[in-house]
Amino acid sequence: MIPSLPRPAWLRAATVLYVAAFLAFLFLPLVVVSVFAFNDAPYPAPPWHGFTLDWFFANDPVGRIGLFHDDELLGSIWTSCVVGLWVTVLSVLVGLANALVIERHDFRGKKLLSIMMLIPLVIPGVILGISILAFASQIAQFADDHFGLDLRFLRPGLALVVLGQFSYIATITTLTLRARLSRFDRTLEDAALNLGASRAATFRTILLPYLRPALIGSAAISFLMSFADFNTTLMLVGGDSPLTVLMYGRMHEGATPVLNAVSLFLMIASAVLALALMRGRGRRPA
């Protein structure tokens, strides 16, 4: 019940207990992952053998290889970053075009189009992956049979991973940008145009600054979602694995605490990103 109504003592106590248990449930796995990144033992398991930074810095060709010397892991982080940047750029640009066309233009089929734009979010990621895989290799096959062209990028690999992730992340950027654009006061633009500003200048000096928080926010979300994506990526990946796919493979084999080290590294990176975003938002009242 709500605070303005009498609540028996046991209910208050139960509420506090519930919240505590709930938060423990949420954070326990993350705490455990972080703690065992520093355990001086070959497996991320108890008992505690003492503190070490080996899983970050060790470089022993026959023994421990820490995160910062594990070329395969570092390579996969780089791969994830490259994929993430492409997905972010594509999703934000397409999201912006979508928001503009839906919020400011009228045409036949607009309702249908705006519903269609939501569909990718309700298709399971695995199916987005296999359908794009099948379609791309169909085109590649066609090009090969009829024109003798070898379209490498349509075979499983990073280009397809980018397209696969983009196919649903674009929905999220579209929603975010539409929400912001729908609250835009169009008289500001009319004023600029009346005062003789060109269309391009109006776009650059009025609309873009207004959309800035949503552009930055949707870019950050795109990058994080791309970095974390597994289902779609798994179906489209070729030789170079992004981090999630590589980690999955290693977890199957029974991994060393170097995976804990990567995980902790990721947590810190996303925390820094989140804090930077929040500070940015604090400075510019949205």
Binding site: F22, L26, V33, I127, S167, A170, A228
Partner: protein
């Protein structure tokens, strides 16, 4: 005052230029790939590079008990996981929306979001370290004298369930909080003054008001659980028997794309049916539910 017509704001060409990315995205990455998938699923290979239209792939699914067993199991476990997530998330959403105030509500809400900034792989790694036989919880149980030897807590259905509920939590809490926040406290006070008990208030006032949020949360959680791959395969090991795994096996391991495509369509069909049924049940429209997120 400039007339704010379509033509005044960039004209036909501008509109087509803005429409092009959307059409390319939806056409080339969503629509046509699914048509291709449908074509694949309705054909059968009868010779090298020779195919005929057929229902053989779907027939195999229904004739092979293993396949539809896994399908039904995936659907059932997803439904249970959705219900469990709702039950666990609701009190927390209530605390955030109604009991905690100002800063503490914001902090609690933030605390619920943080784990989901981190990839599911990392969170699953945490559960594996906690639950495997050499892991933290079995060791703790031995230390407390509750079990004589460490027990294997991974690879059970209940383990998969814990992982699924965990990973879905955020997608339930966010829509629940937003629908509960809009509930006017005076309605609850009025009901209380008129003599209604806690359960009656919940049933007659809170649930009807929060129905859109509950629907949105359940649809998203069910869909994500159905399509999940990491959590069931890593926490369930060989016992996971998850349908997405079957799709992967057919498509990538066995290279039997026709069968994999049929499985994909069955999963898509179930997922879509659930979304539609959920919306019908709550009398909601698809666009409204999605934009509420």
């Amino acid at each position: 005052m400039v007339e704010a017509t379509d033509a005044g704001r960039g004209g036909k060409l501008g509109r087509w230029l803005l429409l092009a990315p959307a059409l390319a995205w939806l056409g080339l990455l969503i629509l046509l790939p699914h048509v291709e998938l449908a074509v694949l699923s309705f054909r059968e290979q009868v010779g090298p590079r020779h195919y005929v239209p057929s229902l053989a792939q779907y027939k195999t699914f229904f004739e092979e008990p293993e396949y539809w067993h896994v399908f039904v199991r995936t659907a059932w476990m997803s439904a249970v996981a959705t219900a469990a997530t709702l039950c666990l998330a609701f009190p927390m959403a209530w605390v955030i929306a109604k009991i905690a105030r100002g800063r503490s509500a914001a902090v609690l809400f933030m605390a619920c979001m943080i784990p989901f900034w981190i990839s599911e792989t990392v969170r699953t790694l945490g559960w594996m370290i906690l639950l495997r036989q050499s892991g933290v919880l079995p060791a703790l149980l031995v230390k407390l004298g509750l079990t004589a030897a460490p027990v294997e807590m991974l690879y059970h259905d209940s383990t998969i369930m814990v992982g699924l509920v965990y990973t879905s939590m955020l997608f339930m809490i966010v829509p629940l909080v937003s629908s509960l926040e809009s509930l006017d406290n005076s309605l609850i006070e009025a009901a209380y003054d008129l003599g209604a008990g806690g359960f009656t208030v919940l049933r007659k006032i809170v649930i009807p008001h929060a129905a859109p949020g509950i629907t949105a949360g359940c649809i998203i959680v069910f869909m994500l659980t159905l399509g999940n791959y990491i959590t069931p395969t890593l926490l369930g090991g060989k016992n996971s028997e998850w349908f997405t795994e079957q799709i992967y096996t057919q498509f990538i391991t066995r290279f039997n794309w026709e069968q994999g495509a049929a499985f994909g369509f069955l999963l898509l069909g179930l997922s879509t049916a659930m979304v539609v049924a959920g919306l019908k049940l709550a009398g909601q429209r698809f666009g409204d539910v999605m934009e509420r997120r």
